[in-house]
């Protein structure tokens, strides 16, 4: 009797093993879903889960379903390092998407490079892909592209002297550095260089100093809520100098925080997702952006954000690479590097051995805030 039961069990096991579908393609993801950078990690996680479901519903990649292993780093580099090790050693993923911030990415990078696993970061810092390492990519456009977009536009308007007001975190520090280099390169003058803390609630002191230096334009570089405070302070002080913001505030949240009245006339380089309904039909991204926004709204009840787009593009790059070259980490790496004209949320990607970001000036659109909404700046 006992023997029979054992045999029966063994039979069941064999049958069930045969019934299991093709081995899934395991892709790891590290997002700061909680903690100070949750505004990045949450849409990234949502987008990835949504997209994986979508791809699997359509039969996976080359018949192979995708399994996303997502961990929350809480924005802590030490934790990111541990979890990256976990993804590689325990979960045996073929590629990693994330982390969400530049600091975490720089912490994880040495490990993925040593273990030879492709890392597609969702952080913007230029240090991630410059100098280029064979195994590290990133989907957000470099800060200097956004900076260049602003300066090109400003020069077109005849503005020659600039004041910088940047936040003292990774994003602001990188923006400040890039803008200073760009200004020098273009022969433009920097007349004031002020910074503020990420938690500051009043920037009138810095703005008063900036006003005294009478620049042609002010460029503020930060993520919410700082720039909203700056915008309100500018109006309160009655400063009439044109104000540019970075792509870091290219979401409706910023207009909400600053108030439509104060934000009137502020200009910034925005990822095309923010203005997808105002793009020309001929724009290569128009269709994809509309679909992404609709799907995201349907699944989560809020509008899609640029940050989610970083994860969207990262997964698309991996899927494209698997389809083209194969599913081993080495093949994925080569595939991503060969991606060309891949239409994504953040822009149209064309990677090469010397460019692991693959975006150019066309990734951004200069927009102006008019009556609480974006409009393409002329």
């Amino acid at each position: 009797m006992r023997k029979l039961a054992v045999m029966w069990l063994a039979l069941c096991l064999v049958l069930s093993a045969g019934a299991v579908l093709a081995e899934p393609l395991r892709i790891g993801a590290l997002f700061s879903v909680t903690g100070p950078a949750a505004f990045l990690g949450e849409p990234e996680k949502n987008t990835l889960e949504m997209l994986v479901k979508e791809i699997n519903a359509k039969g996976g990649v080359k018949g192979q379903p995708i399994e996303a292993v997502i961990y929350d780093t809480t924005g802590d580099p030490t934790k990111a390092v541990q979890l990256a090790t976990k993804l590689i050693k325990d979960d045996k993923v073929v590629a990693i998407i994330g982390p969400s911030t530049t600091g975490e990415t720089m912490a994880v990078k040495p490990i993925t490079e040593k273990e030879q696993i492709p890392l597609i970061s969702c952080a913007a810092g230029i240090k991630i892909t410059d100098p280029v390492n064979a195994w590290t990519f990133k989907t957000p456009a470099n800060d200097h592209i956004a900076g260049e977009k602003i300066l090109n536009y400003a020069v077109g308007k005849g503005q020659k002297t600039f004041a910088l007001l940047t936040v003292s975190d990774g994003f602001g520090a990188s923006g400040r550095e890039q803008l200073k280099t760009l200004l020098a390169k273009k022969g433009l003058a920097l007349v004031a260089d002020e910074t503020y803390g990420p938690k500051d609630t009043d920037m009138t002191a810095q703005l008063t100093k900036i006003r005294a230096s009478s620049p042609d334009a002010i460029i503020c570089w930060g993520t919410n809520p700082g720039p909203a405070v700056v915008t309100r302070n500018v109006k309160q002080l009655g400063i009439k100098i044109p104000l540019y913001m970075s792509h870091g505030v290219a979401s409706k949240k910023y207009i909400e925080l600053a108030g439509a009245e104060a934000a009137e006339g502020v200009m910034l380089p925005a990822g095309k997702l923010a203005v997808f309904d105002k793009l020309k039909e001929s724009d290569p991204q128009a269709k994809l952006l509309k679909e992404y926004d609709q799907a995201y709204r349907k699944a989560f009840g809020v509008e899609a954000s640029t940050f989610g787009g970083y994860a969207y593009d990262a997964l698309q790059l991996i899927v494209g690479a698997v389809q083209k070259s194969g599913a081993s980490p080495e093949q994925i790496r080569t595939g991503i590097e060969q991606a060309s004209n891949l239409v994504g949320v953040s822009g149209v990607f064309t990677m090469s051995a010397s460019d692991h970001n693959g975006l150019d000036l066309s990734a951004f659109e200069m927009v102006r805030i008019v009556a609480g909404d974006w409009s393409i700046a002329q």
């Binding site: 961990y71 924005g75 580099p77 030490t78 390092v81 090790t85 600091g103 040593k114 520090a173």
Partner: protein, 321 residues
Amino acid sequence: MRRELIKFALFAAVVLVIPATIKGGYLLNVLVFVGINTMLAVGLNLLLGFAGQISLGQAAFYGLGAYLSGILTATYGWNPWTAMAVAAIAVGILAFVIGFPILKLKGHYLAMATLGFGIIIYIVFNEYVDVTGGPSGFSGVPGLSLGDLHFDSDLKSYYLIWTMALLVMLLAVNLTQSRIGRALRAIHDSEVAARVLGVNARLLKVQVFTCSAIISGLAGSLYAHTVTFISPSTFGFHFSVELLTMVIIGGLGSIYGSCLGAALLTLLPEFLRTFQDYDIVVYGLLLIIMTMFLPGGLVQGFELLWMGMRRLRPGRAGRNA
């Protein structure tokens, strides 16, 4: 003392055998960080558990060790071991100098002063961009090596860091069993009484503060050379509080307790990952329950368990007979 040494030898043996019993590289990686946190917790415990002086600025010493080591090696090309020694000495000198005015304060005021110190150092890491790389961090710190032995895998890092951690623990056990340890406990109970009995309380407090800072600095250097990347967010106020929690959960005044506390707080979030979005809630609940029912820390819990088992044994024997 002999009993203490036997206890320590047993503990060390367990620590050194652990890697052989676990498979899967990830747990080993986390255990490396448990080692670093153990050093930090033991350092703080010397100050808090024995001398009864609180410090909310331990993360600053930890960070200073990491940044000094990182900058000296990556920017100036120093040998990592020399850099580590110099960083530890520099952190020690700084602690010694600020120790005199700060440790005159007591209770909440001492907490505030050390908290302030921690925040100042954190701001320096963040704002002195040209040297520290600012908020986006400092990369390119070289790994450690001894001759041809490069500490580049988790297993090697484990042995390196736990050797250091065990040395620190041995030092701490030794210290607490000595005359100085008794003097520190005397200060803890009543500083006035200690002084009346001829203990130079002021100097001793500064010395133990310096000692705990040096240990933290060393841990920081090890962190920098193991992770090869440092950023200010690792060394913020939040981490100082986490260390304090490790020491209190583990058991004030118990060296092994500090190790337990460090292990628990580092490993627990990993095991709670199965609760997905609720892990933080469960984590908080567990901490509350532990402090409510085991105010003496985990070590007290183990002692109670041990005593309970001893009491059970004769009873069972009696029933059998």
